[in-house]
Symmetry: C2
Subunit: 709 residues, 2 copies
């Protein structure tokens, strides 16, 4: 009997946060895809827990568009919001004292601040989101192991099924992580799969029914630090391991330490360091430095699957770290030393682990613009800056909409190469930051005015931490000039690395657009602009029309734009399938700068209050960026963005909310928008969608608009 | 075969919003109860849609305590927030013009503003909440019809099963509302049940298995305007019908009327009035005046089940209103006349109905402190002020915690009589407001500077509407002096009807406590005080300790309070079962007035950071009410409440967030708290809870604290 053959647009290998984020994008945009995982069960304890500002913005962007509530922005409600970061270190007498306190998230960078919650919750919300967006058609398939992958490099058609992945269904037992004792712990060796054995089975005709050949247009390997996909692509990680061994405890502490509900970085005089992360449900996570371990030369250039936990290290470094000594009690004992003179006891232990990870990054994130790797498969580093889960999700948040655009036939395959160019830089910055921070955190402190004058300069540590908090928030990821980002007009770069135009002196091009409230013309309701930039796969063109009441040219220009937008020569008609909703690929929003009561909805051209095929009006295209609200104070998004209220501006925003282009508010500015899309979009003037698709979501038009429906 | 006999603490008859709110309370507090409904299905369209500020506060109060997200505060996310109210009326030439615009919800009265969503959603959230709080043990039982009810007035034990209710299971067909055509409509006659027939069946031994005798301690009749329970108690509604007939449409309008996404009250010159309610999902509800109908003398004193819809009226008033003419098209036709010169067409019709309801109120809400009626069973009125669903839920929000306290044996049965005294006043105020508003809205307008000088004075209408918006918000419901509210110390009543002490010059006693942010001492996180007053059945004593840093007496006093709270003579120990969590009946929170960085957690006495039986600390008892936050600006709840920062105050807050008592911050003030609880609480010094209960929620202690666990 021949093996089962099947076809899908995208195959995602690995159902962790990174794979899930890709799946959420694809489900949201209506792309056929599958997601497989070799483990038989989800995560119930431990693992990553930090949700940074940018991640929460992304979660919100998937939630706002959906009427269904079972979605990602639950994170912001149930996770523990961390408010303050406290630094503790020895005073001149060696006594542990609070050195300083700073806001945990830098004020003013986002409407969300860092919060923490167990990774299992995040994965549950993702599963619900995917279920919701795919109308129940896509579930994680597990336990499924990939056996082989083959890329047909000669397949020129972006819609061709160029990647063949052979997979097999595992029995549940071999896919379960091994647990030691009753308390969940992270000291298990992840099941790597024995592809050889399964391949041999297949050759010999054994268990044929368990195998399936999946033909995919594109494949994403989100399969963790050991990434099978990465190894198949022949990509090695670059970087180094560390000397430091850390223990992790998730438990409820019994202590008289006063800052146990704040995030704390504690350097003790002689006993090592502790990071305190107060969690949901009065749980606390502790990262506790265990002891120094000499580097084992044999492991330094180890190309095998170093998974970063103590067991592996121990196995390979001649038993220097004795795994049997890594117990919750041994970790706690070290914590007690560090916390002295404060007491520290433990109850309700939920999870523990030990790790000894370095900073490593993959030099390449993709092959042939067909196979991509993301998350831990591309970068591994210490968990203490709360970055892992976040950067991993942000990788695929970058990749997902691009794959959706390509799979829908709306954009050229070329755009996929921006995934690596955009995310590799972020990964390298992350590795550099983590390298610096973790060494400053692991080192013995210098104590001013004492005899301990060598060691880590704690002022430098605090400064590094504070300066890094912008980076760590994920809000300043900056994408370089490319076909998707227009920085190529000789714009200056400021001291903070931002590329900004004089047209909008506070909007860094290439970074995500900061969100501020605007007011809907139709009903006076304040809404965050970010919530109008929902993650549904669409580009947005924002027309900042300025003060159209006092500046008549601006209103005239707006009316003139109506003709441009109606023309098949221009971006809006040209790149939208002929029978799709007019705003289903690119949405045009207008934000003026008048008091809402001084102008009327019907003063503005039709594209600001367009009618659909049933002549139902879309009232949510026209806003004011300036004025008073009844309940939420005054707003001025022109001020926030540095846009002149007389001159205005035109912005192009990518589906991931990154600023693609900043133009002047003029006919020329609108033409530049054409030029932007002409680089990579595929004309749709002959594309008539199958009737079914065009009719979809009739009555629920305003509930779930999405790419090209 | 004898009929099945069963026992429950509370039987709720009727699963509409009012019954559901009672059920939510009881589930939240862990009371055994059942909820039955004679209809076989839920509501899918139409009915009530307004959620007022106070209702949203209540929803939030049930949600905050729960870690599970499938709860009531979804309303605030998915409902349509109405921002502005626009008044339209004829100008001097008779042309329809916008007369004025005001905020739909008065600024400053609540952190929530009015929003609207279809009643079916609200009921779905209630079902999820009940499922969540009862751990899946309680579901609405339907279709179940009550046949007879008997109260044993001689049962002196509050825990005795004094009410016998005979019920029968209906077949689904007889319990379904009749629908006309494809579009859901409200023109059906609700199934009233034929108790006689079923009783006869039982007598003759037919279908014996379908019957059940439920023995309940207490019964709530939340069974609508026709209330079977009310009729069994022999209570007649008082009040009158109206002359005006209104049509209702839920549809997507196609119109050039500019304010269609605002709430509008439109008086036309000659064609009647329209109320516009913009809904979720771009739906709009229209209340459209159809025509005037003369009062039929025969129906005026009609004691039968007048259900307020046109069909009933038509059936009884000699065909004056021809039901067959009440079609969506006929309603729309009238709307088109009123909206002229603006166009008005219709698409996506979801629901329609006609009604002709007056203002009626039940003179009594309970019998023998055993059977209670609530919601439409007690008061019927026009829907245009968006009150029905809200006041109905607020009725049982008042009743539910009292029943929980009595059923747990914590409070005396006497407190139940405050249900009627507190809610009957609200119902009468509502009826008076609705009577005035609906007549002003239904009348032909007077047009200033024209020849139409008789009719409704629109200025009076606008004034009535605006002044009524505080009442309509539900936030100023004011409960009189009773064993549950201490107003009896000769306090003055101000021009707005508020009773306030000099100790807290902006806290009206008897009203719900307005919520403002405070900052947790332990982690610096700002949190709304309202979110610390979760609806879990507990009373709170709030110690406003003032500036304890500069005012040492206040800190000394706080430390002195430790002894009082430890004494079995005082409220905290005296009224809490001996092995229950110390805060499971009355929770003491301390809110000081110092900068959080100027004091330390462990400067304060133990009761501000108490340990539980595992010595886990509860960090969430101590706050500052004054200071700066990193992300949310400055706060000062002392200023908000009019509490002197040197003198402080002690508040007692009921489980429904109403202010029970305002005392000075002193030993004497704390003694008054004793006196308050001594009036109605039952000492628990001999009450040892069954071990199971005391051990419940061990690890999840901080997730779902609730009454006496």
């Amino acid at each position: 009997m021949p093996i089962k053959q099947s076809y899908t647009d995208v195959l995602i290998i690995g159902a962790g946060p990174s794979g899930f984020m890709a799946a959420t994008w694809l489900a949201r945009c209506g792309i056929p895809f599958r997601i497989i995982d070799k483990r038989s069960n989800e995560i119930f304890a431990g693992q990553a827990d930090g949700l940074q500002s940018r991640t929460l913005e992304i979660f919100k962007s998937f939630s706002e568009a959906s009427f269904d509530f079972a979605t990602l922005d639950q994170g912001w409600k149930v996770a523990n919001h961390i408010t303050e970061m406290c630094f503790w270190s020895p005073d001149a007498n060696g006594k542990l004292v609070r050195n300083s306190r700073v806001p945990d998230s830098a004020p003013g960078i986002s409407r969300f601040t860092e919060c923490v919650i167990h990774q299992g919750n995040v994965e549950k919300w993702f599963e619900e989101s995917i279920d919701n967006f795919s109308s129940g058609t896509v579930k994680v398939e597990r336990p499924i192991l990939p056996i082989s992958i083959k890329v047909n490099e000669n397949e020129a058609d972006p819609q061709g099924y160029a990647v063949d992945v052979l997979v097999t269904k595992l029995d549940s037992e071999s896919a379960k992580p091994e647990q030691v004792g009753k308390v969940a712990n992270g000291l298990f060796r992840a099941f790597d799969g024995d592809q050889e054995k399964f391949y041999h089975d297949l050759e010999s005709g054994k268990n044929e029914d368990d195998f399936e050949m999946i033909h995919a247009k594109y494949v994403i390997g989100s399969d963790g630090a050991h990434s099978w996909v990465r190894r198949q692509l022949g990509i090695d990680m670059e970087g180094e391991h560390t000397d430091y061994v850390w223990g992790v405890l998730d438990m409820t502490p019994i202590t008289n330490f006063p800052d146990i509900r704040s995030r704390c970085a504690i350097h003790s005089k002689d006993s090592g360091s502790v990071m305190v992360i107060p969690r949901e449900n009065d749980l606390v996570r502790f990262y506790i430095q265990l002891k120094e371990v000499e580097r084992d030369p044999e492991t330094k250039n180890d190309k095998s699957q170093f998974n970063g936990n103590v067991e592996d290290k121990a196995a390979k470094s001649k038993g220097r770290v004795d795994r049997s000594k890594i117990t919750p009690e041994s970790i706690l004992k070290q914590a007690q030393e560090i916390f002295k003179p404060y007491t520290m006891e433990m109850t309700d232990l939920r999870w523990y682990t030990g790790y000894q990870i370095g900073q490593r990054v993959s030099p390449s994130f993709s092959a042939h613009n067909r196979v991509f790797i993301s998350g831990d498969a591309c970068h591994t580093h210490s968990p203490k800056a709360g970055q892992g889960m976040n950067v991993s999700m942000q990788d695929t948040y970058n990749l997902g909409f691009k794959l959706a655009l390509v799979c829908k036939g709306l954009a050229k395959q070329d755009i996929l190469s921006t995934y690596e160019s955009e995310r590799l830089k972020v990964a390298r910055d992350l590795i550099a930051y983590d390298h610096k921070l973790s060494r400053l955190f692991s080192g013995k402190p210098m104590i001013p005015n004492s005899d301990v004058m060598d060691g880590v300069d704690l002022d430098e540590f605090h400064r590094t931490y504070r300066e890094g908090s912008h980076f760590a928030s994920g809000t300043i990821s900056d994408y370089e000039n490319s076909i998707l980002v227009s920085k190529d007009n000789g714009l200056p770069v400021d001291a903070d690395g931002r590329t900004m135009s004089k047209i909008a002196t506070n909007i860094p091009i290439g970074r995500r657009l900061y969100s501020d409230p605007i007011i809907a013309q139709a009903d006076g309701k304040p809404i965050h602009l970010g919530d109008r930039l929902a993650s549904d796969g669409r580009f947005r063109v924002l027309l900042f029309a300025g003060d159209v009441k006092n500046n008549h040219q601006n209103m005239e220009l707006l009316h003139k734009f109506q003709d441009s937008l109606d023309s098949q020569k221009n971006f809006l008609k040209k790149y939208t399938p002929v029978n799709a909703f007019a705003d289903s690929v690119i949405e045009v929003l207008t934000i003026h700068a008048c008091d809402r009561h001084d102008v009327e909805l019907y003063d503005f051209p039709d594209f600001t209050h367009p009618l659909d095929f049933k002549r139902r009006c879309d009232y949510w295209k026209l806003y004011t960026g300036v004025g008073s609200t009844y309940h939420e104070g005054d707003i001025d998004i022109y001020e926030t963005y540095g846009i002149d209220k007389q001159k205005g501006a035109i912005l192009v925003i990518r589906p991931d909310s990154h600023v693609a282009q900043v133009n002047e508010f003029s006919v020329d500015g609108l033409n530049k928008v054409n030029a932007y899309f002409d680089q990579f979009m595929i004309p749709q003037l002959d594309n008539v969608l199958p009737k079914k698709e065009a009719d979809v979501n009739d009555i629920d038009r305003f509930v779930k608009p999405r790419l090209a429906i």
